[in-house]
């Protein structure tokens, strides 16, 4: 590792807030991008399931 301690890694000579917030935002956006279509599919499937049940009964 380049940094001598975890604290130095966290602070990055004063650039820590910038670097870590950029990485944090990126992680949040990437997770949201996966979550949105998965939720859309799940909702659609449950909707179709309800419709199917109604038609068969």
């Amino acid at each position: 590792m380049y940094f001598e301690s975890l604290m130095a890694l966290w602070q990055m000579d004063g650039h820590g807030p910038y670097v870590w917030s950029a990485y944090g935002i990126t992680a949040a956006v990437l997770v949201a991008l996966v979550w949105v279509p998965l939720r859309r599919k799940r909702e659609l499937m449950s909707l179709l399931r309800i419709r199917q049940r109604r038609q068969s009964s």
Binding site: Y2, M12, G14, H15, V19, A32, L44, L48, R49
Partner: protein, 247 residues
């Protein structure tokens, strides 16, 4: 060749085949991004001028590169859907827009955060940054345009045209740092000559760029598959998918 395209182009078989790809893409994307990010954050020495803030490059450049490549894919899919009326291409256009918009916003955000300690400003009306902002508006334009039409076939056509016309912006973004006097640093990676950054700093960048490409492919497939299910909801194969356990 043609039968191959035909097979992949049919929504039903595309749904089946892409399903097998998903776990591999997810694994690749997660692995590459994690390895590249940890490598870039922990094991690369800081930049001699910018210090540690340059570590943002490992997410900023991939997000921007994939946002631009995603736009090109959207434009090509738009052309295919206009010329051959291919349903799947139309779905790809629609699905590229939210993913591309998010990645473009991410590139702007991380760039802004990088700009503050490096240039002293969160935002400057610079050729590179402004043209990427135009890219964001083009993506958002496709989303809004698609929502604004009742008739989804007309919506698809309008979006395809917008995607094609907007493609003019991509070379402008790419060469903006050379055409205009710019605050933005010129390209770090060179395909023709020697890259302007040290190979030690470059290697993790290639890893995260590859990771972001895999991530884009993965998420795009998720969006397209959800769209396929929605549009084919009245077909027998989707009905069977909904209730597989019925005797």
């Amino acid at each position: 060749m043609w039968s191959f395209i035909h097979k992949w182009g049919a929504p039903r078989s595309f749904y089946g085949m892409s399903g097998k790809l998903l776990p591999w893409l997810a694994l690749l994307a997660l692995g590459l991004i994690a390895v590249g990010a940890v490598w870039g954050l922990l094991f690369v020495p800081p930049d001699y001028k910018q210090g540690n803030s340059f570590r943002i490059i490992y997410i900023h450049v991939p997000a921007a590169a994939v946002a631009m490549a995603g736009y090109m894919l959207m434009a090509v899919a738009g052309a295919i859907s206009l010329i051959w009326r291919m349903k799947l291409a139309d779905m790809v256009v629609k699905s590229c827009a939210p993913v591309g918009a998010a990645l473009t916003a991410l590139a702007l955000l991380t760039g802004s955060i990088w700009g503050k300690p490096t240039w002293g400003a969160w935002w400057v009306w610079d050729a590179r940054i402004t043209s990427v902002l135009v890219l964001l508006f083009l993506y958002l334009g496709v989303i809004v345009l698609h929502e604004s039409y009742e008739n989804k076939e007309a919506a698809g056509k309008a979006c395809a045209v917008l995607a094609l016309v907007g493609a003019v912006n991509i070379p402008i973004i790419y060469w903006s740092v050379e055409w205009w006097y710019s605050l933005h640093q010129p390209a770090s990676i060179s395909f023709t000559g020697e890259s302007s950054i040290h190979p030690d700093m470059l290697r993790p960048l290639f890893v995260t760029i590859a990771g972001f490409y895999c991530f884009f492919a993965y998420v795009l497939l998720l969006y397209v598959r959800a769209e396929i299910l929605y549009r084919e909801r009245n077909t027998r194969w989707v009905q069977a998918l909904v209730a597989p356990a019925q005797p």
